[in-house]
Symmetry: C2
Subunit: 253 residues, 2 copies
């Protein structure tokens, strides 16, 4: 057994009318979730809110208080609908200031791209007391203030900012997982899954059904921070499925 260690949690706020209208399909939830898992941090909750100051302030203050880390994506560009920095500064109770290093980065980036206009300078504005998160794509940096990490909405830029943060945040034991696929209706094995989970302390089993080529199947995902318990639970589930003449397919279907 692994020594029980503290569980580190994070929340994510996806900011943007374009997600709530259905126009843009969010890619940041899965990206941030996967990255956090590797850092040993659990994504506990996500909220998608509009480009609306009150909505952002409410979400920021609720989620930063009850998680180790809070990430946001979206709303940090140069246009009038980019209100994330102002809203988060309001939530934190601090002023918005131009960060000198961000200003210097943007001056360099825009030197041969038409110069640093007032609109572009907006991207150097941060809640007072913030540090920067490098962005190797477009100059404009992300922002860290305490346990709040403010990132871009464009997934490729978000990805670069996450890379810059890799290994920088304290996490706990990563949640390990095994996936087993099976051509079975999940309702046939519902009792088995529940019993197997109960018999293996610290393991959770998720069941995800699908229909493919006219056939019914399910993937079972077993999760634990303890590699030995995880392996034992996985072996037990495979054996029980075999006993039902429903062969388990390691890695999932």
């Amino acid at each position: 057994m692994v020594e029980s260690s503290r569980i580190y949690t994070a929340a994510l706020i996806v900011i943007g009318d374009e997600i709530l209208s259905g126009r843009t399909h969010d890619k940041n939830i899965a990206q941030v979730a996967t990255w956090l898992g590797i850092q040993g941090i659990r994504l506990k909750e996500v909220r998608v809110v509009a480009d609306d100051t009150a909505a952002i302030v409410e979400a920021v203050n609720t989620l930063r208080a009850r998680n180790d880390y809070l990430f946001t994506t979206g709303g940090i560009g140069p246009t009038h609908d980019d209100i994330t920095v102002d809203a988060i500064a309001e939530a934190l109770g601090v002023a918005v200031v131009v960060h000198p290093e961000a200003r210097a980065i943007l001056e360099g980036y825009y030197q041969e791209r038409g110069g640093l206009t007032d609109a572009r300078l907006r991207m150097a504005r941060v809640p007072d007391g913030a540090d920067l998160i490098p962005n190797r794509y477009t100059g404009a940096p992300g922002i860290r203030h305490g346990n709040v990490f403010i990132m871009a909405g464009v997934p490729a830029i978000t990805s670069g900012m996450l890379d810059a943060l890799s290994g920088q945040l304290e996490g706990g034991a990563p949640l390990l997982s095994e996936t087993i696929g099976c051509w079975v209706q999940e309702s046939e094995v519902a009792d088995l899954l529940g019993r197997t989970e109960q018999a293996h302390a610290g393991c959770q089993i998720g069941s995800y059904p699908f229909w493919r080529d006219g056939k019914t199947g399910a993937n079972f995902v077993i999760r634990s921070v303890d590699a030995e318990e995880l392996a034992a639970c996985t072996r037990a589930l495979i054996a029980d499925l075999e006993a039902m003449e429903r062969p388990a397919i390691p890695g999932g279907i």
Copy 2:
């Protein structure tokens, strides 16, 4: 000008550890958002929560109180990790009961599929006082209780439940939109966008930058419930972009 009409709002709760772990990429946010737009209902906020009773209860009670409609996806299958019905009944302060019509539907569906086991009967359980939402794919129905709509997590099944609800919910004037693409850095037109939005009451302009084939562009989405204002705002923005020798590309890039 359209007579100002009441704005109808909805919230969505996506329930499931598989979304928060990054394993499954959510497709229901965009699907529900688009469907709501057609019904004349605005998706105001989304929360993704774990398969955890307390988290579901908190989200349900906050969001159903401040929106006309609340939708949930996920957690209504037959396995031990499907706790949505119990959690929502707790939030509503009602008991969980077997719905006779749901039981009859499932008996029919499973008649030639091995019979209605206890696990399968779980899918006939509803918060007391609920009505059913038909599901033409797998028998197991969705559930409506007051302004709360409980739907499946598998996107194809969610889609069928939304179809069954189409035209059933009272909405307001649909939010109309026009999209204009332009090969321009959004920072070059930031002031223009802000001025144009201010000059056209009831219009919002969103700016969504991208980088493609080494070139920088942006799509501008103009939204309004008033078709005339929308058209006037769109024409004004196109004319101003032309004046900058940045031709607008109707429909977006």
